[in-house]
Structure formats: C-alpha cells, structure tokens
Assembly symmetry: C2
Homo-oligomer: 442 residues x 2
C-alpha cells in the first residue's frame, strides 16, 4: 500500500515509517521539524543522538534496500499538504504530526494558542485534502487516552451505549481532557467524526496510552536508525523519564500522591497497532475509535518497578514526591476497555523487569548527555505564565502564525522577519548528529 506518515521524523513516526517500509509498503514521510527547532530554542534534546532525516533515509536504504520518500513541509500550509496528497496518492495517512506535549501547551497563552491552532488546522487541512484528492484514503489519527480524563465509570472505545429515561442511543464517549494539548485532540476527534459523516471519509482514531521504550526491530538494525528519546519536563513521558532518572541515580519524581492510573504500551506495540488499523480499514463514512494501550499502572507502581529493577543493577534510588504541577485526581477509579486491537490480532509486549533492564542498559551508554536541569517539571497548570526556555512567547506566536499561514510576516518595524519558505529551505542536515561521536554516517 501507499502510506504517508505525517510527523515521520518524530519519536513514533520515524520507527513507524521504517516498520511499514519493511513490510513492503511504499512509505512517504512528511515533517516540519518543529520538535528539532523547539529543542534548539528551549535547551532540550533527545537523549539518544539522532541523525537528520536525510541521513536516516539514506541509512534505511542501505540497510533494508527500501526507499522512504521525504516531504519537508508543514501540514498547516494547505497548498503544501494538498499537493503532497495529490502527488503521493496515499491509501492511508498515519497522522503523528501534532504538537505532542501537555506541559508545552500549558506554558502560557501563546503556547496554548499555538498548540490548538497548529493541531486543529493541521488536521482540518488533512481532512479537506483527503476529500478533495484522495477520498477513499483512510486517515489513521493518533489521539490520546487523555481525551477521556478519569471518569468514575468504565471507559469504552470511543462510544458508549446510554439508556436514559426509557430510550437508548450509542453516543460519543464524554470527554474530560486535562490540558490544552489534550483538548486539541478532543477538538480533532470531533472534527474528524464530522468529516466522516458529511463527506463519507473513513478514519480510525487511536486513543493511545503513554508509550515507553527506546527500540523497535528496525531502530535496532543500525545506530543511525535510532529514534529520539525524551526525558525532560516538557517532552518526556513518565516511564521514559523514570528510566533516565534511574541511570543517574536521580530521585524518581512522582507528581503528587502517584495514585494517578493511566494506560501504557510498549513502542513496539504502537507500531503493530497502527499496522492493524491500516490492514483492517473502516468502511467509507465510518469513524471508529480504538483504545491503544496494553496495561494500566499507577504512577507509583511504575516508580516502584523502576526502583526495584535498578537495584538489581546496583543503582539505588529514592522516590521523591513532587507537588503535582497538574490539576488531576490523585486517586481514582480507572478501567478502560482495550479489546478492539487485540481482536484484530495484537499480541502485546507486557512491561517486565527484563524489558526495563534492557532500556536501562541502552540509556546507560548516554548518561553523559543527560541535562539534569531539564528533568524537573517547569510548568504549573495553575499559572498562566510559566518561565520556560522556549524563547519569548512572542517569538513562538510569530512561529505559529508563520507555520499556520505559510506567509511572509514581519513583526514591528521589520526588526525580525521570517517566512515559511525560509524554514523549508533550511537543509534537513542542519540538525545533524551532535558531535559526541556516538553516531557517524558510515
């Protein structure tokens, strides 16, 4: 099949592109390199050194004999993405191309607005471009389990059968998202459901849990194929962050009481879940939702597990209870259904101490690259202005406008000017490997 991965330079997008390429599909990737740019502004970085997209694609060709086709640009630019879809003619689009961080969206107004506009307009553009050029294309959208919040009843997969005052209907499951980022995903879900209804599009919304892990079968083939690994207070997810803390014997930072329960999955299961969705497409006009995770844990359970596993390797850790920077229930009922992907054939990789040990071993090699100052949470949900390293907020708003409109714009008296074409013109190799020598093109 012809498959287009949006956000194909990211933590999940890049291994997903290789995974699908290796299965014999013709894969294209679209990316605007937003995360790499924001790392430069904000002082964060992938723990594991990553090659530029150009180098990755070259290495993948060398290792696998398969070609991945790159498209450098922003899906907020309709002319760009509609042209890509017209030319590439994807049978499915896998949409990882959103601003993915909840703390980032809570920094201040500009970051909240950027997150919602970037994510909503990007997805709207995909919907319009699919309808106009490739109406049978299956949109596989990455949503999040965080869309549901923590209701006091079982969480179903997207829809719930409600009996009320003697009547009955199956309705979209109520959403209670916990950040401006999670809200943007809820907005996307509503927009996509509507497009399926009025235009007969087909879409699978994958409400994904928290992903952990550092390696897939494909990234393991060659160091140049490594995917990014984030552990800081902005981009890192909880289990990955705990593992990084472990290798430097930093206290494991549990936010609040640690009774928060969430769904988790291994990065290798993400790869397979997306493939299963693609291989089993919905009917035209169908909008369906799969809850994409394999196990539930409380945050404290994960901290205990990491602590125990690290101890066997001679690393002694404390569990530190930080004030919770988020506004969330500290202990609550949580039972989320997740059978639809298993029904399609998913064989989960469950979290084990063996897997955790292998993650710790892998990360241990890069412990000299850990920026300790970025680990602690910097963003307080209760504040509207958090001092953060992502530049003066006006700068980011400028970026948002530019990305969104793909037009020239100048701020004030032309003291600063930018254009989206200038971004596109930045050679991909600008973000080449860090100079620590761990990875070199052969």
């Amino acid at each position: 099949m012809r498959l287009l991965v949006i956000g194909g330079d990211g933590y999940l997008g890049w291994p997903q592109a290789m995974f699908l390429s290796r299965k014999g599909h013709h894969v294209g990737v679209v990316d605007n390199f937003l995360h790499r740019q924001l790392d430069q502004k904000g002082g964060t970085d992938s723990l594991i050194p990553i090659c530029s997209l150009e180098e990755r694609i070259a290495a993948w060709g060398e290792v696998s004999g398969e070609r991945i086709e790159p498209f450098s640009g922003d899906i907020n630019d309709y002319a760009f993405i509609s042209d890509v879809i017209k030319r590439f003619k994807p049978e499915a689009i896998i949409h990882y191309g959103e601003q993915p961080s909840a703390p980032f969206s809570m920094i201040d107004r500009d970051h909240a607005v950027f997150t919602q506009v970037n994510n909503i307009v990007g997805t709207l553009n995909l919907l319009f471009a699919i309808k106009e050029h490739q109406p049978a294309c299956h949109l596989v959208k990455l949503g999040t389990m965080g869309e549901y919040g923590t209701p006091n009843i079982d969480i179903e997969e997207g829809f719930i059968d409600i009996s009320h005052n003697g009547r009955r209907d199956i309705l979209p499951y109520p959403k209670q998202p916990g950040s401006f980022y999670h809200l943007s995903k809820v907005h996307d879900s509503h927009n996509i459901m509507f497009a399926c209804k009025v235009w007969g599009l087909r879409s699978t919304d994958l409400n994904q849990g928290v992903v952990y892990g550092v390696e897939t079968e494909e990234t393991a083939l060659d160091e140049r194929l490594a995917t990014r690994f984030d552990y800081d207070g902005i981009w890192g997810t909880v289990l990955n962050r705990f593992c990084v803390q472990a290798v430097i014997e930093h206290p494991l930072t549990v936010y609040g009481q640690g009774g928060q329960t969430r769904g988790f999955l291994d990065i290798r299961d993400t790869m397979r879940c997306v493939e299963l969705a693609i291989l089993n497409p919905p009917a035209p006009g169908e909008y369906r939702v799969f809850n994409q995770f394999t196990e539930q844990f409380t945050i404290r359970q994960l901290a205990e597990l990491v602590k125990e596993t690290a101890r066997k390797k001679g690393l002694f850790l404390e569990i530190a209870q930080e004030d919770d920077p988020r506004v969330e229930a500290q202990a609550h009922y949580y039972n989320a259904k997740h059978t639809r992907l298993v029904d399609l054939g998913l064989k989960p990789h469950y979290l084990s101490d063996v897997l955790l040990e292998s993650i710790l071993d892998r990360l241990f090699r890069y412990r000299h690259r850990i920026r300790k100052e970025t680990i602690l949470p910097l963003v307080d949900w209760r504040k509207t202005r958090n001092p953060c390293g992502y530049g003066p907020s006006t700068g980011l708003q400028g970026l948002a406008i530019e990305l969104w409109g793909n037009r020239l714009f100048s701020e004030g008296n032309g003291a600063r000017s930018w254009s989206a074409s200038a971004i596109n013109a930045v050679p991909v190799s600008r973000w080449n490997m860090a100079s620590d020598g761990a990875v070199k093109p052969r």
Copy 2:
C-alpha cells in the same frame, strides 16, 4: 454591575447591551465589526437599516440618559482584549463575539479554518485575560443547542447522569455538532470547562436555540436603536428568513423534508436569559450549562404557521421543498430539557400568530431592501468548495491571519497589505446608515 458585551454591535449583542444598560448596569461593548465587513465583501446586508455603533451609542445616551462604553478591536488580539479587561474591570463578560454562521463555516477550507481559529482563539484569549486580570469575573458564553445534534435520548442541560456496568458518574453530555461552526462551539465548551477546573474561573455556557424576532423594548424606543436583521442563505436563521420570504410572497424554502426539530426562542427572552445568568452567578470553579430556548418546532410546523399568518394579511404563500444542503436527520426524536432558566425566573414569550403578524408588519416596511438573490442556500455541506460572494478565499484567510495575530502582514509581493491597526483606525461611521432615508440621526 460592570458588564462587558463582546460582539456588542451584533444582532443580539447590541440589544443586550441596551437591555443591561437600562437596568442600571455599567455596560461596555467590544466589537471588531466583522459582520459589517463581511456584508460588504459578500453582498449581504441587514434588512433593517442599522446605524453605526457610534451613532447607536449616541442615540442611546440621548434616549436613555445612559452611557455605553465602546471598545473597537478584536478579541483575537490578546494585547487588545487583556488591556480592555484590565481597564474596564468587568464583573461579567457576555460573549457573543464569534463568527455565528454555520453555512459560512461550510463554504470551503478557508472559511472553516477561519471560523474555528477565530472562535477558539477569541475564547481562549478571554479565558487567559480573565484569569490574569479579573479572576472573579463571570464568563457568560453563548453556545448553541446545535452542539448536541439530534441524539435518540433526551437532551439534558450540559451534563448527563450515566449508570454503566454497575457504576455511575455525571459526565459532559455527548456532542454531535453539525457544521464547522457548531464544532467551534463544542471546542469552546471543552476549553471553558477546563479553564474553570484548573483556574477556578466561573462560567455559564448558554446553549441557545434559534432566535427569532426583530424588536426588543429597547430597540423600539428609537429607530436609530434598531438591531440588524438577517434573512439571507448565509446569516439568516430559519424563522426570520421565512418572515422575509412571506412579505415578498416568495415560496417558503424548507430544506429537505422539514421534519428537523429544533429549539426556538424570542429575542426578548434571550435578553432576559442572559440577565438571569448574570444575576445568579455560578460559584468560583463552576462551569454550568443552561439550554436557552422556550419551545420546540419542526421546520415544517414553522412554515405552516408563517403561511397561515401571512394568509390573514392577504399574502399567499407556497411551501417549497429544497434539497437539504445540510447533512442532518430529516425526522428524528427530539426532547431537550430547558428548565434551569425557568427555575431562575424566566417567563417565556411564546411564539404566536400575533407576534408573527407584528414581525411581518415591521418587515413589510423594508421589503424594497430585500435582495432576493441572497435568499436561497448557496452552501452545500457535501462540497469542499462552494462558490460564494465572500471574496477569493485567500483574501479571507488573509483576514483571519490579520485578525488573529493583529500584526502587519503582506501577501505575495506586497500587492495587498493590511494591518489590524488599520482596521481599528477605520472610523466606526464608515458603516453609516444606508441612504434610503429611513433612519436619520435626529
């Protein structure tokens, strides 16, 4: 109380400002005159001639002795709206300031994107500005009954008590909106609910039905105080449109089978509902929803009622069944609760043939101003590109960027340039009365 009406130059916003001013409140109005600008671009116009905001405010001062304070600007410009809130210190904000048309949002991609960005960012800006400068301020937000769609169970007021697998919770009522405009309101609702939760803001979301009527006690005091009245395929709502069709003996255009049931209310009840919400504010941190309508009708029932009333006045009408340009159920269960505003003291004005006659009499005076070519629906929900009079879509996207970012921007090689300050500098009187002589400043 100090009350700020956003969108205070519009169909409901202007009479609302007068209504509250007359009750002794200190009222400010904010408007960006978007509707007046779009009328100029698109060839639509208010049937009833309306004065400029400057003239309206002057006339109101003359008639009532009360002063309404105007603020000309766009709430998508955070610097502007946060400054207004900082200076005016409102105790409640009544937020009518959104792009209000479903067909407009369905014209094409640019109009969909404009609608969602404009409405979402405007509301986000209000939330941030309230939190930063006036955290006890009560946000009274105009939502729509269209957020719910037409579920097969009773529609509750914002939240529903669900028993599921032996457990129970009260959750946000599931939403199934029917256009990119209605979706923008659903997105707003989720954003506002979240802001109440994390920042302790207080908000009332008024899910309003379809408003009809031309006159309030205040607009009736002086012709210069008239509010706009839209009847065309883009801005007109159904009953107002039928009334205009009646006075020129145009067939009443029912979309599809006419079995669509909706909630309706008299414009005078809108005034009072908002007042009731203001006088009975929610607690800090509370997000509450009132369904704001007084009666349910099918579209065909309304057409029959207008036909019958017109016949008594010697106007003979046909009911014409147009292909439904929207994607919506043609006949369905509909039972929406609407007791909370009645519990607070609302005494509804029900739709009667006497009221309809008075509307027809009022409109009859302006029948020479009816632009027949604008009446029929121009926007097909099933298409992504509808030819419409709102200028080249790039022009509108330009407008969106400019309104959103409030910055200079130039398109292409500077062939066209705009700035938000230029908009603000346009004297309000630019949109003075049409020259038909019906209304002159005294």
